[in-house]
Structures are given as structure tokens and as C-alpha cells.
């Protein structure tokens, strides 16, 4: 069963000096348990597509379904957890209270809240930091807390918008392998927006290459890498081959000379 299905999807932002076509004719089906990365230069519509799945933007043409429902129905059914570029933790809440925020809103009981917060903090290796405030944590730990917050209500779909974009490479490597383990353990479907080729290749079962003006899908690459991926898989010929294909796809879809016109 498909989790996300887009058919001839288009999304145009009206603007004073001509409309901006953020997405044009996007056709894509994402199956259950897949880890799909969206990669492309800025302005290619990768974040817009993720926000459309989350019902944070309204498509202007075509159809989009999430779990067989409209995006709005899926959002109301709390079908997904969303991780933003910034951790966006509430500074006045402790880590455990931040993770409990969706649970409070969705009306979980105290005991259940407590149990789920404990379990998800353990999942992202933040046990022991329950009573800390966000400012007492490093950027990487804050982003882990925000992932825990997205996981706490156990939605089957996880939407991640460049969650590690603001972090340094060492932390990023670490969180990438943590994320893979988490995906393996939970069996969730993950849509992951990035502009890093190694990150996309390392994490994904499928890589969607996008290009701007108008935002569209130019290539979809099935990964041949095994499910089990140690960090040093990134030096294997197979990995480099996929990375090269992604790079070619990006180059084909995007003529840099255009930028100066």
C-alpha cells in the first residue's frame, strides 16, 4: 500500500511580479517502510513537496494522497511526525515537556505520556536529559529531542526537512547512522529533504533528484545498498557509483549558466 501518492502535482505561489511555480507535474509513489530522500538545489521545491504532504501548503493542481486520504484528513488523523530544519523546541519547557507537547495536545493520559516520553528519549539516546532545558543542550542534542518529539505519538510516517542541515559534519555523521538504526527498528516510512549527496545516498532506499524553475522531479534512483549500512560503506565503489548518478542527475536538471540571466 502506498503511503504517499502524487499525481501530476503542481503548486504555484502567487507573487506580484509573476507567479512562482514551486512544483510542476510531480508524479511519485512512496511505499510503506521506504526511506526516500529528496535532493536538489534551493528553489527546486523539495521542501514545498514535503510541506504539501504535511498539509502546510495547498497544491494548486493534480492530486496528492497520504495513507489514501487527502493531506488535510491525514493531518487531522495525526498521520505523520514532522521534523523542521531548526529544532524549534519551546525554551520554557524541559526536554521531557517538549517531547510531551504533542501528547498533551492529542489528549494522552499522564501515565501514557510519561511512558512514551521515556521510550522515545531512549530511542534517540537522550535518557538522563529529561529535566534539562533546551539551552542546556548542544545543537545536535536539541535536534535529537525534536526527532523524539516527532516520534512520541508513534505516527507511521516521518517527514524530515533538512533536520541536520545546521549541524557540523561530525555530529551529522553520528545522527545519520542513529537515524538509520531508528528507521530499522521502527519500520517507519521516512521522507527526508537534504542538499547533501552523501547524506542522501547513505540514508535512502530511494533518492528523488529535483531541479528548480519550475520545481520538478528529474530522476528517481533506487539504491542498491544493503539495509545494514556501517558509516564506512561510504567508501565502497557501489556507494560512489550511486553518488555519481545523483550528481549527474543534479547537473542535468540544473544549468548553472541560467542563474546569471
Amino acid at each position: 500500500m502506498s503511503v504517499v501518492q502524487a499525481m501530476d502535482l503542481g503548486l504555484t505561489f502567487p507573487a506580484g511580479d509573476g507567479d512562482v511555480v514551486a512544483l510542476k507535474d510531480v508524479n511519485l509513489t512512496i511505499g510503506k517502510g521506504e526511506f526516500v530522500s529528496f535532493i536538489g538545489p534551493s528553489g527546486c521545491g523539495k521542501t514545498t513537496f514535503l510541506r504539501a504532504i504535511a498539509d502546510l501548503e495547498k497544491p494548486t493542481s493534480g492530486t496528492l494522497s497520504v495513507n489514501g486520504q487527502t493531506p488535510e484528513e491525514a493531518r487531522r488523523a495525526r498521520a505523520y511526525g514532522y521534523v523542521f530544519q531548526a529544532a524549534a523546541l519551546y525554551p520554557w519547557r524541559t526536554i521531557e515537556k517538549n517531547v510531551a507537547l504533542p501528547l498533551e495536545i492529542m489528549g494522552y493520559g499522564q501515565a501514557q505520556q510519561h511512558e512514551r516520553v521515556r521510550a522515545t528519549l531512549e530511542l534517540v539516546n537522550l535518557t538522563g536529559f529529561e529535566k534539562k532545558y533546551p539551552w542546556q543542550l548542544s545543537g545536535g542534542m536539541q535536534q535529537r529531542a525534536s526527532i523524539a518529539r516527532a516520534l512520541s505519538f508513534d505516527a507511521d510516517l516521518l517527514l524530515m526537512d533538512e533536520p541536520f542541515g545546521a549541524l557540523d559534519e561530525i555530529v551529522r555523521d553520528h545522527l545519520n547512522s542513529e537515524l538509520l538504526k531508528l528507521w530499522d527498528r521502527t519500520g517507519k516510512t521516512i521522507c527526508f529533504v537534504t542538499h547533501s549527496i552523501p547524506e542522501a545516498v547513505y540514508l535512502s532506499t530511494r533518492i528523488v533528484v529535483m531541479s528548480p524553475r519550475p520545481g520538478r522531479v528529474t530522476d528517481v534512483i533506487e539504491s542498491t545498498l544493503p539495509r545494514e549500512r556501517p558509516l564506512d560503506i561510504r567508501e565502497t565503489p557501489e556507494f560512489l557509483e550511486i553518488a555519481a548518478r545523483v550528481r549527474d542527475g543534479l547537473r542535468a536538471g540544473h544549468s548553472y549558466e541560467e542563474e546569471h540571466v
Binding site: 504535511a54 495525526r78 514532522y82 520554557w92 519547557r93 507537547l101 539551552w135
Partner: protein
């Protein structure tokens, strides 16, 4: 010590300047008095001491004001009509009631404004216009008008305080309740949170720093409102009445004493709001 020393230095400089100005401003009248008494060639230090000890000086010396404050508070029965503690309490109670009204009104208006575009556009111009009218012109109309329908005493004065103090609270809270970033509002949307939940989980806590900043301004001008309102009703008592009778009778020392009590009161009230702010900040996990 390194923090106290600069403060004491400035305080000392101000006192010296005040004493010097007291000599300078009281000199003409002191010269007249000395001429009448046939005193000539008074040495400067003796002349200064005379200038600092007049009954109705143009500018009273600091120690005269301090002793007047002492005599009119500690040394006097609290129920006396001449007690500044008694008058201070009258002003304080009107200030606090008006501040409570004003803060509540400000918050209610701000909530209406951020949730409803029509109320934003229809209320905000009136709110701003209300503050362009001189309070000295409004206060007598309100106090006398309400007196005519039998409402006297605390409430009319509190209404003037409210009239002044709701304004910074509205402006601050509109900004504060709108302060959450788009990403934080999007987050709650992904949880399908209701508007009430968005308000209490996000907007209200995010607005706290703005509320306290507004309340600090609000409580100080509440006091001003109460004092101004008292000018319109001399029988009701209060620091404003002490200022008024002092100026009728040329009792400059009494005026300055009442002024200092009012300023001290304002400082204490602002400090109390500041203390409450610290307490709330601590509860909300702010960096110490």
C-alpha cells in the same frame, strides 16, 4: 564594592549640586530678609545655612525634605490627615486597583486583536487615539462626572489609572502574542492543535517577557494616573492632594516630600513587578 562606588559617587554629586542650587535659588529672598534685619556682610557658610533653613524656600534643601518625610510618616499618627503614609496609602490603593483593571483590559483587548482582523482594524486606532488626549483634561471630567452619579472615592481614580496603564499592556501583548515564529505555529498545525491549545501552549508563554516589560511601564503610569485624578477631588485625600495644597500654600517642602514619596512608591512597585518577572522567568527555565 566596585558596583556600589560609582552609584554612591553619582548620588553624592547630585546632592552637592542640589545643595548648591538651593543656595543659589533661595539667595534673593534670603538677601531681602537679611536687609530687613539689617544684617550685612554675612559670611558665605552662614548665608548658606540660612538659605537651607527657610520656611518656604524656592528650592528646599535635601535634609529639609528628608525631615519633612520623617515627620509626616514615622513621627505622625497614621490616621492623621497630615500623614503622608495615610495619603500614600490612598494613592497606592487607587494605583493597584487601576493597574489590575488596566492589565486585564490590556490583555483582553490584545487577545481580541490578534484573533480577529476586524477588531485589529477597528480597535487599534481608538486605542492609540485614547492616549493622545491629555490625561489632565480627561481626569476632571471622569472624576466629576462619576461623582455626579454618586460614584466617588477609589473607583474613579482607579479608572484614570486604568486609562493610562492598559495602553502599554495592549501594545506589548499584541506584539508578544504574535511573537511565535512561523515554524512554531506550523509545528502545532502538524499536531492539529485547536486555537485554544495554540494560545495556551504557545502564544501565552511566548508573550510573558512582553507582558512584564509592559507591566513595568503600566504600574508606574498607574501611579501618575492616580495622582492626577486626585488633583480633581481635593476632599478625597492622596499624594495628589498634598501636592495641590502644598502649591496653594507655597509649602514647597511639603510638595517635595509628597513627590519623593510618590517616586519611592513607583520605584518599589516597579521593583515588585521586576521581582515577579524574575520568579516567572525562573519557573520558565530561563538562563540564570
Amino acid at each position: 564594592m566596585t558596583r556600589i562606588l560609582p552609584v554612591l559617587t553619582i548620588l553624592l554629586a547630585l546632592l552637592l549640586f542640589w545643595y548648591a542650587m538651593a543656595v543659589h535659588m533661595n539667595a534673593p529672598w534670603q538677601n531681602t530678609l537679611n536687609n530687613r534685619a539689617g544684617l550685612e556682610n554675612v559670611p558665605f557658610m552662614d548665608f548658606a545655612q540660612q538659605a537651607w533653613a527657610q520656611d518656604k524656600p524656592v528650592l528646599p534643601a535635601p535634609h529639609q525634605v528628608v525631615s519633612e518625610i520623617w515627620n509626616a510618616t514615622i513621627a505622625l499618627d497614621i490616621t492623621s490627615r497630615r500623614s503622608l503614609a495615610y495619603h500614600g496609602w490612598i494613592t497606592l490603593s487607587a494605583t493597584l486597583l487601576g493597574f489590575a483593571f488596566g492589565t486585564m483590559l490590556g490583555i483582553v483587548l490584545a487577545v481580541a486583536i490578534i484573533h480577529n482582523d476586524a477588531s485589529d482594524r477597528s480597535l487599534m486606532p481608538w486605542i492609540i487615539a485614547s492616549q493622545t488626549i491629555p490625561i489632565l483634561a480627561v481626569a476632571p471630567m471622569v472624576v466629576v462626572g462619576l461623582g455626579a452619579v454618586g460614584l466617588t472615592g477609589l473607583v474613579p481614580k482607579a479608572l484614570i489609572s486604568m486609562y493610562l496603564s492598559f495602553f502599554p499592556v495592549v501594545v506589548g501583548m499584541v506584539k508578544g502574542l504574535r511573537s511565535p515564529e512561523a515554524i512554531q505555529l506550523d509545528l502545532l498545525r502538524t499536531y492539529d492543535a485547536s486555537p485554544v491549545q495554540v494560545f495556551w501552549k504557545l502564544r501565552w508563554p511566548a508573550a510573558m517577557p512582553f507582558l512584564f516589560a509592559s507591566m513595568k511601564v503600566g504600574i508606574a503610569i498607574s501611579l501618575i494616573g492616580a495622582v492626577v485624578a486626585e488633583l480633581s477631588n481635593a476632599s478625597g485625600g492622596g499624594l495628589g492632594v498634598r501636592l495641590l495644597t502644598g502649591s496653594y500654600n507655597g509649602q514647597t517642602i511639603q510638595i517635595w516630600a509628597a513627590l519623593f514619596i510618590a517616586a519611592g512608591l513607583a520605584a518599589v512597585l516597579v521593583a515588585i513587578v521586576g521581582g515577579a518577572e524574575k520568579w516567572v522567568n525562573g519557573r520558565m527555565g530561563a538562563r540564570a
